[in-house]
């Protein structure tokens, strides 16, 4: 109830501020000081005579007219926003039948005839097409007449049609990533335009982290933007796969080859020891489920290969992606954004007419066998699978602000595991709308529905039979097989093949996701320069995870007769999130100064409801638990509510020096009783040095900008963990109570304070783009799960704000264009990021495990003085003969966080043909091969351990020299190689264009480790709700290779 009152008050306050603010602004503008060049006002229903007086006052020139003219009493509404006298008079002309002439003595006012006036009201239609440097049509370019605010966007053929008053003399053309162009209009009603790529991108407008649109040059931080065009070429199945090659300063590792498994996304290191480093995701302003809540009931086939909710996002209706990587950039997201924000904007239609696109992709998927120890594992577990995807997109719109887009997809991937144990089928539908509701309000909406079904293989540390553990780890010896697979006779091999084939065939693990996302926004423009935007939306995601173990499966894999142990385990996770945001932005220019003021409030409320229902002693063939002899169930509910207000001021001086200031205040019931509002301030400077008058423009340096900022962002504690609770369970048919959570009245979000500075430059006629930055991000009050003091009687860990974590490093990104001719271009890009991660202070608590097994085997640990998630295990020292001399338990064996990582890419275009490739790399991280350790234990391998030790002690010391199995995980992985050819038929009445593509995903891996350095988060459902740095390679599948051809038709 208390919360309700606070929210109501805040809302009222916010709305009051918004209305009073706008009226204050109006008044201020009406009484602005005179300025010799610029005029500002916002007038409504004012007599013309009074308008003249105001203009005279501001322009310092008098009107010359006959004082009793009747038009002087006519009332008009007119806005002027830092405009010249000439511009204001032009606007005035469109409102009343007058003409003006500026003379030295004053402004001559002349009545014009009705005919002439009609002419001013006459309209003309301009048609044209916009193409890029390769003569390919640009879809979605904005064409608008700045004087009238009339605008349209180009369709799929780059064509547009705009109807404007005949008085309009120029058109502006803008498109993300391209230089804006201004066209002076003449008598021609058809124009053709070629846009050049904008290397500096400083004028590009971004929204994420700002509330409303602000050009990049005004920001003191870096905002990465990915356009629809960038997305089109890459045949990624998932958005994180796409981002892994497109975000120069973030590292996205594909942690497993199972369909839908999670990825580790980290930008500026690991700033939290309790939360996954996955950024928060927004679609059209609505916060999405990114599975950053605990998998409280565990179980299911996601165990050992955590799910990714990012894998659900449809790829075919994305207009733009913006990414900010923490620090000052994310301050306006407050308590929830220390890991950065990725915002996806969906398409909302094109201009006139209807465009239809039909595309299909098909190909084969093959297993990545590079890391298999035994050659024959491939024959036991894998096959070549097929991939197919079909897409239908329809979009359209008109010149009155209406637009729509629809995209439907069907994807079927059989996967590379025998019996289709890793198949994925996905259907998604998405729509986008925009419409003008009246003169001042625009409406935008998007709807997305996804149905995603996965088959899952038993994976990692799931116990019992798992395919990779059985084959690669040598565990087949437990079932009486010779585990040295490559040494088997053909008869022996056929025996084990029969065993594995049946074991795989009898597995039945299924995950099904149904998801619905919608965003609704209203944008209100009461007057020029002011915008109020309300966004509301929901994300509803239901994941059903089912594992069926039949008696036949158990009998086969345990080699004993099992009659009454068949079971079905179901875990359902229902996520429902609501996001509401109100944002007010006012842009105001005066003299050399420009101001962008932003005020907003945001609320999000997430509900994570998990239900487990299991049946055991169930007859083979049953698919539901209704026939089980024993049924059990459990439930978990978590609700997060966070609400905050933010205010921001961006001040520009002469369009080259910008000061960015802002603060957000957050409240949340998850904070302890002793904790009030949490504040997140930011301050930054952006200086476009190349715009300084003294900066002589040269072909060597085209643009140069320096930026620096300071800002805070937070990570929220999970809901309700601040409260002391009693837990209950059934025991012997009655209720049993016991201590639950110890509680912490001082619980608050952890806050990451980031200082950064950087330089962005464009050199040699934009042939070289260079960006370099340094950041230092320190998480104070870091939330650590403090293990319970045994004497306290509590057995659950409790979150306390006791830690301090530091991440610092350089972020360098460059792009070279060594070749640029009329027909051909070649572009190369490379990013280099250094990372230094350290737990500065652990608050005196014992080292704790985040992503490993038990202390006696191997763990990834958080400990003061070490990087987060370093590998800790037993360190063995051998004598001269190679016999184990001593072992030191719980020793440092290596960090799991690389100190250098980045992307590289090449893009070659020749006429309509483009060829591209990209890769990721990292160095100086380590991981343990638990597979190798098991191979030693099960005597499946003679590698690594000295022979003398084996003779002396057999395999009994297998866990006492874990250091032998820990390897450096440097890698260079080529993610995609592909080509695209665009064909535009001469007669394009029906078929407007066609494109043909071929790409290979994950073609080459160059690694220093004997195992896949990315497939290292086995152990549990980590990556979901918990910090995870990888580090243990154990029975985890590698991402498969895909060879895909695609064909796209535009009608």
């Amino acid at each position: 109830m208390k919360n309700k009152k606070i929210i109501t008050l805040i809302t009222l306050l916010l709305l009051c501020i918004s209305s009073t603010y706008s009226s204050v602004v109006e008044k201020q503008k009406g009484h602005n000081a005179p300025n010799e060049n610029r005029i500002n006002f916002h007038l409504k229903d004012i007599p013309v005579k009074q308008v003249f007086t105001l203009i005279e006052h501001q322009a310092n020139k008098n009107f010359i007219y006959i004082s009793n003219e009747s038009f002087l009493t006519n009332k008009i509404s007119i806005d002027a926003n830092n405009q010249t006298l000439e511009e204001v008079l032009n606007i005035l002309k469109s409102k009343i039948p007058l003409d003006f002439k500026i003379t030295e003595n004053g402004i001559l006012v002349k009545k014009i005839s009705a005919i002439k006036n009609r002419r001013a009201q006459e309209k003309r239609t301009i048609r044209g097409a916009v193409i890029d440097e390769n003569d390919l049509p640009i879809l979605g370019a904005n064409i608008f007449a700045p004087e009238t605010n009339i605008g349209v966007v180009t369709d799929i053929n780059g064509e547009f049609s705009i109807t404007i008053p005949t008085t309009v003399k120029k058109l502006m053309i803008t498109y993300l990533g391209y230089k804006s162009k201004e066209i002076a209009l003449d008598e021609n009603s058809t124009i053709s335009l070629k846009l050049e790529q904008n290397a500096s991108e400083l004028d590009e407008v971004v929204i994420t982290g700002q509330g409303a649109g602000v050009s990049k040059k005004r920001l003191s931080n870096h905002v990465e933007t990915i356009s629809a065009k960038d997305i089109e070429n890459i045949s990624s199945q998932r958005i994180d796969q796409l981002l892994s090659t497109k975000l120069p300063n973030a590292q996205i590792n594909l942690t497993g080859g199972q369909a839908g498994s999670t990825s580790i996304i980290r930008a500026r290191g690991i700033n939290s020891a309790f939360l996954s480093s996955t950024p928060i995701f927004y679609i059209d302003g609505v916060r999405m489920d990114n599975l950053n809540t605990t998998s409280a009931l565990g179980g299911g086939s996601s165990t050992g290969a955590a799910m990714s909710s990012i894998a659900d996002i449809p790829m075919d209706n994305i207009d733009r992606i913006e990414y900010i990587n923490g620090g000052a950039a994310t301050t306006l997201y407050g308590s929830d954004a220390a890991n950065g924000v990725i915002q996806i904007f969906t398409k909302k239609g094109s201009s006139n007419g209807t465009q239809i696109t039909v595309s299909t992709s098909a190909g084969v998927v093959t297993p990545t066998t590079d890391f298999l120890y035994f050659d024959r594992t491939k024959d036991l577990l894998f096959k070549t699978g097929s991939y197919q995807k079909y897409n239908l997109s329809i979009s359209g719109g008109n010149n009155d602000g209406f637009g729509y887009s629809f995209s439907g997809n069907y994807l079927n991937n059989t996967g590379v595991q025998i019996h289709d144990n890793n198949a994925n089928e996905k259907i998604d539908l998405s729509t986008g709308f925009r419409a003008k509701i009246g003169k001042k309000i625009n409406y935008k909406s998007s709807f997305i529905f996804v149905n995603n079904s996965y088959k899952r293989n038993r994976n990692g540390n799931q116990g019992g039979y798992t395919g990779l553990w059985f084959t690669e780890s040598g565990a087949s010896s437990n079932k009486g097989f010779n585990n040295r697979l490559d040494d088997l006779t053909s008869n022996e091999f056929e025996e084990i093949r029969a065993f594995v084939n049946k074991a795989e065939d009898l597995q039945d693990n299924q995950i099904n996701v149904n998801r619905f996302i919608t965003s609704q926004s209203f944008i209100y423009h009461p007057f020029s320069g002011f915008e109020a935007k309300f966004t509301g939306g929901i994300d509803s995601r239901i994941q059903n995870d089912q594992v069926i173990q039949t008696n036949e499966y158990l009998s086969h894999t345990s080699q004993r007769t099992v009659k009454a142990e068949g079971s079905i385990n179901n875990v359902q996770r229902k996520y429902f999130g609501i996001t509401l945001e109100l944002n007010l932005q006012h842009k105001f220019n005066t003299g050399s100064y420009s101001f962008i003021s932003t005020l907003g409030g945001q609320l999000f409320r997430n509900e994570d409801h998990q239900i487990q229902f299991n049946g055991s002693n169930i007859r083979d063939g049953a698919k539901t638990i209704s026939g089980a002899a024993i049924k059990t169930s459990d439930e978990y509910l978590s609700e997060v509510l966070n609400y905050g207000l933010y205010v921001q001021e961006n001040i520009g001086y002469k369009d080259r020096l910008f000061l960015d200031l802002g603060i957000r205040g957050d409240r949340n019931p998850s904070f302890g009783d002793n904790i009030g509002t949490q504040y997140y301030p930011k301050a930054g400077l952006s200086w476009v040095v190349s715009s300084e008058p003294w900066f002589s423009s040269s072909p060597i340096v085209n643009s140069l900008r320096l930026r620096s900022n300071y800002g805070l962002a937070g990570n929220l504690p999970p809901s309700f963990v601040n409260e002391r609770t009693i837990d209950f369970d059934g025991f012997q048919g009655e209720q049993a109570a016991y201590f639950g959570q110890p509680g912490n009245p001082d619980l608050k979000p952890e806050k990451t304070t980031t200082y950064e500075f950087g330089l962005d430059a464009s050199l040699w006629n934009d042939r070289v783009q260079f960006s370099v930055g340094y950041y230092n991000a320190r998480t104070k009050d870091a939330l650590f799960y403090v293990p319970p003091t045994p004497s306290s009687g509590f057995s659950k860990s409790q979150l306390y704000n006791v830690g301090e974590i530091e991440n610092k490093g350089w972020e360098i990104n460059t792009m070279f264009i060594p070749l640029k001719t009329e027909n051909a271009s070649l572009a190369l890009n490379i990013s280099v990021n250094t990372l230094d991660n350290l737990v500065v202070d652990a608050g005196g608590i014992a080292p704790f495990n985040i992503n490993g097994f038990s202390a006696r085997t191997i763990q990834t640990v958080v400990e003061e003085g070490y990087p987060i998630g370093y590998i800790r295990g037993n360190l063995g020292v051998f004598d001269a003969n190679g016999v184990l001399e001593s072992t030191t338990p719980q020793s440092y064996l290596g960090t799991t966080i690389p100190d250098l990582f980045g992307n590289m890419g090449i893009n070659f275009n020749y006429k309509n043909l483009s060829i591209f490739a990209n890769a990721n790399y990292q160095t100086e991280a380590y991981a343990n091969s638990f597979d190798q350790q098991f191979r030693f234990l099960y005597k499946a391998s003679d590698d690594i351990v000295p022979e003398a030790e084996v003779i002396e002690n057999g395999t009994s010391n297998w866990l006492n020299f874990t250091n032998l199995f820990t390897e450096k995980t440097d890698f260079l992985k080529v993610r995609t190689i592909g080509l695209n050819y665009n064909f535009i038929p001469k007669n394009n009445n029906s078929l407007k264009s066609m494109s043909l593509g071929f790409s290979v995903n994950n073609p080459f891996n160059f690694t220093s480790s004997s195992f896949d350095p990315e497939a290292t988060i086995s152990g549990s459902a980590t990556g979901q709700g918990g910090a995870s740095t990888g580090g243990i390679s154990y029975a985890t599948y590698s991402a498969p290779r895909q060879f895909i051809t695609s064909l796209k038709f535009n009608f």
Partner: protein, 469 residues
């Protein structure tokens, strides 16, 4: 438009701005009707969880069982026990939970509920006493209160007596009263107080079927972990020392494991007989030792239920040693003894006999052959080992005690360094010697490397073991 916009925003904001904790907070719980019964039942559940932790680790640390399972300790078999060890901490956490829950019951739950039954009071006092007993028997010392100073194992045991007396005061069930008395005898034995040990043990003699179990509940996830380790789990988690093979498993299930969880004895009449025998042995009353041990076999053990089960899937195919016997081979207790048969079972040949409460290969003839104190002590400790197998008592008999955990010391400034080192008597063989054996190439017969009962008797004057000597 503006106004409706404001109202819509207001309504939506308000409707979405409230969350309530779905869990029961402490305040709410104490306010509910009759919390005492759920708290007492919670203590029973906690006792089961505590025993799981104590039993698994004690069996592993001792010469009873060898661990093959990755998720159990890989160093307790050595035995290697350090204060930073996860299992040291876990054991302490579970004992601490039992003690603090009992304390919370005594301080908050029961006093706030005038309708609380005497039996609830009695069980709560017993829980506190038993937590202190487990602490005293298994640890060098532990805090006896939240964040308190650690007190010695002896002081913990002395404190437990106070709470046993309080439990007795509130208890009316005569059978339960006997249980508490036997526990007092056990504590006095541990303290080396032969007079009181004898007095309370004597109260039990004649009550030959006295048995007090900890119960489990598979449906609610509280499984008997020893049953899992020795019978249910597909892998061979625990392998017994071959001379104890005939006693494995003590717990088993028919049908699904979750619906058939066997109880674990924490108090049984056998102990009174063994305590008395040990007192008599220390007094050199060999005749009395013989009598009481013979009675133990004839009056108590033979009446304990035994069943035949199919254990043919037990292949002892553990990953650390492949030479565990799976056929009925002979064994000898150490290299100085002759080979004997009947100790190792052929589980594939036929159903096997399971001693659900107590079993031993010691015969009345062996007892009759006792001629001196050492022989008496040897048989008493062998019988203690066999009778209490899978009940978590053996590591205490070997004099091994766990240290206070690192987590306790880091979070609790009252822990001095003296309590952070484990006690492992110097006669305990290290480097896996407790569980070691060798196999003869031809016959497959087995020689146990160390007969720990013999070693105990040899070192009987050590203050760490054999409390009456």
């Amino acid at each position: 438009m503006k106004i409706s916009f404001v109202y819509i925003a207001l309504i939506v904001f308000t409707l979405t701005s409230c969350v309530d904790n779905p869990n029961v907070t402490e305040e709410v719980y104490l306010d509910t009707y009759n919390p005492d019964s759920s708290w007492t039942n919670g203590l029973k559940r906690q006792l089961a969880l505590t025993m799981n932790q104590v039993v698994i680790n004690s069996e592993m640390i001792s010469d009873n069982y060898f661990n093959n399972y990755t998720l159990y300790s890989k160093v307790f078999d050595t035995p290697q026990i350090v204060f930073s060890d996860l299992d040291v901490n876990r054991t302490q956490v579970e004992i601490g939970a039992l003690r603090e829950m009992a304390e919370y019951g005594i301080e908050k739950v029961l006093p706030n509920n005038p309708e609380a039954k005497d039996s609830d009071w009695s069980y709560t006092y017993f829980s506190k006493a038993y937590a202190l007993i487990l602490a005293g028997e298994n640890f060098v010392g532990l805090p006896d209160d939240n964040n308190a100073e650690a007190i010695s194992s002896k002081d913990l045991l002395l404190k437990s007596l106070d709470f046993l007396d309080l439990a007795i005061e509130k208890e009316s069930d005569t059978n339960i009263l006997l249980v508490y008395k036997l526990l007092k005898a056990r504590v006095y034995r541990s303290l080396g107080d032969s007079e009181f040990a004898k007095q309370f043990a004597n109260d039990i003699i004649g009550h030959t079927d006295l048995l007090y179990n900890v119960t489990f509940d598979g449906t609610n996830g509280v499984m008997n972990e020893m049953q899992n380790a020795t019978f249910t789990a597909n892998e061979n988690r625990f392998a017994p020392l071959p001379r104890l093979d005939f006693l494995d498993p003590k717990y088993y299930n028919e049908g699904t494991a979750i619906s058939d969880q066997k109880p674990l004895a924490i108090v049984k009449a056998e102990e009174a007989y063994l305590i008395l025998a040990e007192v008599y042995a220390s007094e050199n009353k060999i005749g009395d030792v013989k009598t009481i041990l013979t009675n133990l076999i004839n009056d108590v053990i033979v009446n304990r239920p035994v069943v035949l089960i199919d254990d043919s899937r037990e292949l002892r195919n553990g990953s650390n040693r492949e030479d565990y016997p799976t056929e009925a081979v002979d064994i000898r207790f150490d290299h100085d003894n002759p080979f004997e048969s009947g100790y190792v079972l052929d589980r594939q040949a036929d159903k096997i006999l399971v001693y659900t409460v107590s079993g031993t290969k010691v015969t009345t003839m062996d007892i009759n052959n006792i001629t001196n104190q050492d022989e008496a002590l040897y048989l008493i400790y062998r019988m203690r080992q066999e009778i209490f197998i899978s009940e978590g008592r053996r590591s205490n008999d070997l004099g091994i005690k766990l240290p206070v955990s690192e987590t306790e010391q880091l979070n609790n400034s009252n822990i001095s360094d003296e309590f952070t080192k484990a006690v492992i008597p110097d006669f305990i063989p290290l480097n896996l010697g407790l569980d070691d054996f060798s196999v003869e190439n031809d016959s497959g017969n087995i020689s146990i490397t160390n007969d720990m009962n013999k070693i105990l008797v040899t070192n009987k004057t050590s203050s760490l073991i054999l409390p009456f000597n």
